[in-house]
């Protein structure tokens, strides 16, 4: 089967986001950007399925600026076979991303789409579920285990009370949680090889999708800072403070 893996270029996991002084957004100028960590897990899972002989081809797709080609090259260096960039400098909301991905699915006919459960910039946690809705496919969200079983898949999901397993018919959508796998690092030879792999650049218009935003961001602010407290020396002092100062026990 063919697996499609959407990947997003976001602020690096280790960089602290700073709000711009004019409150229009988060300052991304001269900030290190990387592949969304949940998407790395998605790429890894697709590669493992291919290594297990359960998939023949992995296509990585990204929607974003020209620099998102670097993110796609990372996916190719990890082991994806080819890549598609739908290039735009506009803000693309999850609903529009899902519509673009549906168009890619219609063209490429994958059996499985594996996405990160959320991007660490807008933290929406929507795209996979929306894509599943638009395609009428089943979804295994927040996956910690994905097994191919007969003609379908079984997905173990991280849910509030613990773990839950669902069986889905194929084609299907999977979104990754943190403990699905540990993504590999691309080796230098594979990074060199990735430069020669096919990467097609398209536009939203090529797919006939309207990506105009539905949400207006009025302002972006820093959350109220929590004032630091005091250090206590002993357990007795701590218990006294909790009882008599804070009144919480």
């Amino acid at each position: 089967m063919k697996i499609l893996v959407p990947v997003k270029r976001v602020i690096d996991y280790n960089v602290k986001a700073r709000v711009k002084a004019d409150k229009t957004g988060v300052d991304l100028a001269n900030v290190k950007m990387s592949m969304n960590p949940f998407d790395e897990i998605a790429v890894e899972e697709a590669i493992r399925k291919k290594e297990a002989g359960q998939a023949e081809e992995i296509i990585a797709v990204s929607i974003g600026p020209a620099q998102a080609q670097e993110t796609l090259r990372t996916a190719l260096a990890m082991g994806a076979d080819r890549a598609i960039l739908i290039q735009t400098d506009d803000i693309v909301e999850p609903l529009a991303v899902a519509k673009l991905l549906k168009a890619v699915v219609d063209a490429e006919q994958p059996k499985l789409v594996i996405l990160g459960k959320q991007a660490i910039d807008d933290d929406s946690n929507q795209t996979g579920q929306m894509l599943a809705a638009l395609l009428g496919w089943p979804q295994g969200t927040f996956a910690s285990i994905v097994k191919v079983v007969g003609d379908g898949i079984e997905v173990t999901r991280e849910v509030d009370g613990g773990l839950e397993t669902v069986a889905l018919t194929l084609p299907a959508i999977v979104t990754t949680d943190l403990r699905l796998n540990e993504p590999r690092y691309a080796s230098l030879p594979n990074i060199m090889k990735a430069k020669k792999k096919q990467l097609d650049v398209k536009t939203a218009a090529d797919y006939g999708v309207d990506i105009s935003p539905r949400l207006k961001t009025l302002k972006v602010e820093e959350p109220a800072k929590r004032a630091g407290g005091i250090k206590v020396k002993t357990i007795e002092e701590l218990v006294d403070k909790l009882k008599n100062e804070a009144g919480v026990i």
């Binding site: 602290k16 986001a17 709000v19 988060v26 609903l95 660490i120 933290d123 929406s124 946690n125 929507q126 795209t127 579920q129 929306m130 894509l131 599943a132 809705a133 009428g136 089943p138 979804q139 969200t141 927040f142 079984e154 999901r157 991280e158 849910v159 509030d160 009370g161 613990g162 773990l163 839950e164 397993t165 669902v166 069986a167 889905l168 018919t169 949680d177 943190l178 403990r179 935003p213 539905r214 949400l215 207006k216 961001t217 009025l218 302002k219 972006v220 820093e222 929590r226 630091g228 005091i230 250090k231 206590v232 357990i235 701590l238 218990v239 403070k241 909790l242 804070a246 919480v248 026990i249």
Partner: protein, 309 residues
């Protein structure tokens, strides 16, 4: 203006997250209806009807809703959506799973994890793991949103007397099937509803060491939490994880034990009323936000604290 709230439940009990979602929905400024989609869930509908401020409860009782599969419940909500201006669900794994599927079918941009309702179309939500708060205005005629429990006080669980309407199930697409679940069984309070939480981090060192956290929690009537590092290390199961990708909590008292204070963890607990940190590393970032910090070996301090209570 009428809002439909998707009830969080397990067919037997209405979960408290529903009460916070009802408050958020009522702040939109109109009537609040609650949808109970389940199997053998009459008791849940009865409980929902007693929530103060709810005027109508819709009960869709069908075997296909027994495990709240998104594939089955989303079409039901979509079929009801014509009568509503807003669809609201708590930001639980169930709400997060189902609601975007509804939004896409309605061609609406969902607003995720709303912390504050500014007006019927303007909302505040966290981005970048809570390091920034975005105020967004929806231009869609219908609003679809998940709401963060800690952002809204719980509606009173009693005092209401809503009408219960039984509704028919929607067609089941039959493309997904519930296989099983391993749910933690515990007499301790739920993390998101607990007044006191005791959490352990990487500093615990082993799963066995969590017994001192559990023992302290039981003395305090508290829930047990954990950092991502502790869950990743296999010390404790994922349902205990507090943080941006785990549970968001805001108890009266949060005791962080052996937790360094990664941004990801702080995003999940920094709205707690009082934070206590116990860590042997006095440079740990958790001390910057703790009201009371104790630099100590947790293996001595935690049992000592339990004894002193």
């Amino acid at each position: 203006m009428t809002a439909l709230v998707l009830a969080e439940h397990d067919n037997a009990e209405l979960k408290p997250a529903t009460l916070n979602a009802v408050t958020a929905a009522s702040q939109l400024g109109g009537d609040v209806h609650v949808l109970v989609a389940g199997s053998g869930a009459q008791a849940v509908a009865d409980a929902a009807a007693r929530i103060a401020g709810v005027s109508v409860v819709l009960l869709a009782d069908d075997a296909s809703y027994g495990n709240r599969l998104a594939e089955n419940i989303a079409p039901l909500i979509v079929s009801l959506a014509g009568d509503y201006d807003a669809i609201v669900a708590p930001t639980t794994t169930s709400g997060k799973n189902i609601l975007p599927r509804v939004a896409a079918q309605l061609d609406v941009a969902q607003i995720s994890d709303v912390m504050k309702v500014e007006s019927a179309d303007t909302f505040v939500r966290p981005i970048y793991a809570g390091n920034a708060l975005a105020t967004v205005q929806s231009t869609d005629s219908k609003k679809v949103m998940t709401v963060r429990g800690t952002g809204f006080p719980a509606a009173a669980a009693t005092g209401g007397s809503a009408e219960i309407r039984t509704i028919a199930a929607a067609a089941n697409p039959g493309n997904s099937r519930f296989v099983g679940a391993e749910l933690a069984k515990s007499d301790r309070p739920e993390l998101t509803a607990a007044k006191i939480i005791v959490s352990g981090g990487r500093g615990m060192g082993s799963s066995g060491a969590f017994s001192i956290i559990e023992s302290l929690a039981d003395k305090l009537g508290a829930a047990v939490g954990a950092s991502r590092a502790a869950v990743d290390a296999g010390f404790i199961s994922n349902d205990h994880q507090v943080g941006q990708t785990g549970k968001i909590v805001a108890p009266q008292l949060y005791i962080a034990v052996g937790i360094s204070g990664a941004i990801q963890h702080l995003a999940g607990m920094k709205d707690s009323k009082v934070i206590v940190a116990i860590n042997k590393d006095e440079e740990a970032p958790i001390f910057q936000i703790a009201d009371y910090g104790l630099v100590a070996d947790l293996f001595q301090a935690v049992p000592e604290l339990e004894k002193a209570l």
